[in-house]
Symmetry: C2
Subunit: 91 residues, 2 copies
DNA sequence: TCTAAATATCTAAATGTTTCAATTAATAAG
DNA sequence: CTTATTAATTGAAACATTTAGATATTTAGA
């Protein structure tokens, strides 16, 4: 993973709202819907859209359209690649 | 590790200059001096001071005074804790 | 003590991020 | 086709971060 991608993922992980979204996946054990995120966070709809976009752009979430709804799954591969890059920082 | 600490570390990792600083530890295999960072990055001295402060505040670097110089060591424990938190995000 | 070197702090400009109201786009259901 | 629902986009305000110049602090050495 190059430095730009690493920075982008780090930035995506550096916000309380986005961290809550990611932690929601653990609770749901599968996928998370856009609407659920709206219930989870006390933020206006465009703000949620913005945060989800950042997580998708970083590659951490995979979006999938289901009619009018939007379903997200966690991309564990990207998370693993990020962890590998962190391990490499160690001496 | 609580979410605030996680966010702080993520933010510290989300900048090109700070990432370069951390990668310098790999090259040096031990510690890094403030002066070396000044040579490494094409930034004014106060900017470097600012970046190093953020890495120290996040707990990633441990500062140690050596006369007029400042020596930094990488805190691998914090890095490991951060990695553990990331692992926990996985399903 | 005086000077030079290394680092920190203060201040301000430039830039980036977060947030929401308003609007738009897409789709499902009647 | 019309309406309601879900999500994205636009535009702007509030806030935070990055950067550097000027200045202050600390310490080493003459």
């Amino acid at each position: 993973m190059d430095n730009r991608k690493f920075e982008k993922i780090s930035k995506a992980l550096s916000d309380a709202s986005r961290l809550s979204i990611l932690q929601q996946f653990k609770k749901k054990q599968d996928c998370v819907y856009c609407t659920e995120v709206h219930d989870l966070l006390d933020l206006a709809q465009p703000s949620i859209s913005h945060h989800l976009k950042q997580l998708v752009d970083a590659g951490l979430l995979i979006p999938e359209k289901e009619g009018r709804n939007l379903k997200y799954t966690l991309n564990e591969t990207v998370l693993d690649d990020y962890i590998t890059s962190l391990q490499r920082l160690k001496l």
